[in-house]
């Protein structure tokens, strides 16, 4: 499939039959591709007794996310590596995801398409709830840096809210909010950092701002939020109380499948874009569960060509609520995430900061 036609597909516009047809063809093509180009992937398929190629997407064996920590899984030669992406994990080893120039480009293009759907094409004054130093990591790109940088495309006059020691720079954000108060400000950050270093600090300092039509996009995991008993509704309430009129979108995504993020709609559900899919598997025997039942989240993406990450079994628990029939009108599966399997190592982007 040509990259241009892949990128130009309607973000939430294929119904389940059309999407199934597209996903099946593309995911099987990728399985074949990685089988031929990645020795470890080939051995993996052999180990689990796949003597012939799967015939449908449900039978493609998902690769456990943890294997990207233990092995250098790639389907390209050393000299084709354009970028090495790393998970932010501080506990245990980090995942390594190898991208060639085409994959890196495709990921950025898809990310832009998804976000254009939610934000429009115009770029907005942007406040990043992080330190500028977080992006400057020369030793491979971390998931956090990739998130900050990917989202930066949607902003202009970027302002980093935190100092190098991750403390809120009150003078800087006050000046930023005053300068752009008439415009639709875009705010981005990782959930726990937004909560602890931004919202809670504003509360401590008793500072309020009155933004008009601002948008906050945040992601990176709820594990630490749950430890503090903060759920999505409470998080949103505190944000609006401090900042005024802000539309809040959580997103779910991972370094193993950068680009295809799952954005939260106005009804609180995460939505699979056309390029990717979610499946829920039983935590004990990994059989596929029907809509409405909680299990391990498997994410399938049509993008990865440089590493065998088109079908990945995460360590997150979730529920798919339906397909094509969310009240918001977007097509595709919609789901919610319900924490991690209990014995999984902490790994979320915003969880690396304490």
């Amino acid at each position: 499939m040509q990259m241009a036609s892949l990128v130009n597909m309607p973000v939430y516009g294929l119904n389940k039959l059309e999407k199934k047809q597209f996903l099946t063809a593309r995911l099987l093509e990728l399985t074949q591709h990685h089988y031929q180009h990645c020795g470890e992937y080939k051995r993996l398929l052999h180990c689990i007794g796949e003597t012939c190629m799967p015939k449908d997407a449900e039978h493609i064996p998902p690769v456990a996310a943890r294997l990207f920590k233990e092995y250098q899984l790639k389907s390209i030669d050393e000299e084709e590596i354009f970028r090495l992406m790393r998970s932010s994990g501080t506990h245990g080893s980090q995942s390594s995801i190898y991208l060639d120039a085409d994959s890196a480009k495709l990921q950025s293009q898809v990310l832009v398409k998804i976000l254009q759907h939610w934000l429009g094409k115009a770029r907005r004054p942007m406040l990043l709830i992080d330190a500028a130093q977080s992006v400057q990591n020369k030793n491979g790109m971390t998931a956090r840096a990739a998130g900050l940088q990917g989202l930066s495309f949607f902003g202009r006059n970027h302002c980093y809210a935190l100092n190098s020691d991750m403390q809120l720079d009150v003078a800087r954000i006050t000046e930023f909010f005053q300068r752009y108060e008439q415009e639709n400000i875009l705010i981005f950050g990782f959930t726990f950092i937004v909560w602890q270093q931004f919202i809670q600090q504003l509360e401590k300092l008793n500072l309020k701002f009155n933004l008009q039509n601002a948008t906050l996009i945040h992601g990176g995991g709820w594990k630490k939020m749950q430890q503090q008993a903060v759920n999505d509704a409470l998080f949103q309430q505190h944000i609006k109380n401090r900042l005024g009129d802000v539309t809040v979108h959580d997103y779910y995504g991972m370094v193993e499948q950068t680009g295809t993020i799952y954005m939260q709609c106005e009804h609180g559900y995460l939505h699979a874009p056309v390029w990717s899919d979610v499946m829920i598997r039983d935590t004990n025997d990994l059989h596929l569960l029907p809509f409405g039942e909680k299990g391990l989240i498997q994410v399938n993406s049509t993008l990865p060509t440089s590493y065998p990450g088109h079908c990945i079994l995460t360590e997150d628990l979730g529920v798919v609520h339906g397909e094509d029939d969310c009240q918001c009108g977007r097509l595709g599966k919609y789901f919610t995430v319900h924490g991690r399997v209990p014995n999984a190592q902490v790994r979320g982007c915003s969880d690396t900061f304490s």
Binding site: F82, A104, V112, A122, R123, S152, F153, F154
Partner: protein, 76 residues
Amino acid sequence: MFEDKLKQAFVNALSIEENEVTAELAYSQHPKWDSTAHMVLIAELESSFDIMLDTDDIIDMSSYQKAGEIIQKYIA
């Protein structure tokens, strides 16, 4: 004039020599034109030409030549 201004913006944003700015100069091909430098370049082009680029332009701006075409659209 336009060409000089465009060239200078690339020199400033990417910290490269003027003779490196050729029609073949392309995103991710030159070591200094990576995704971080790309945002610096966008900001530089916006201020030099006093324009506001949208997200499609940022993705499309994959070479020096393409940058010229995109900016022409705004100042024509």
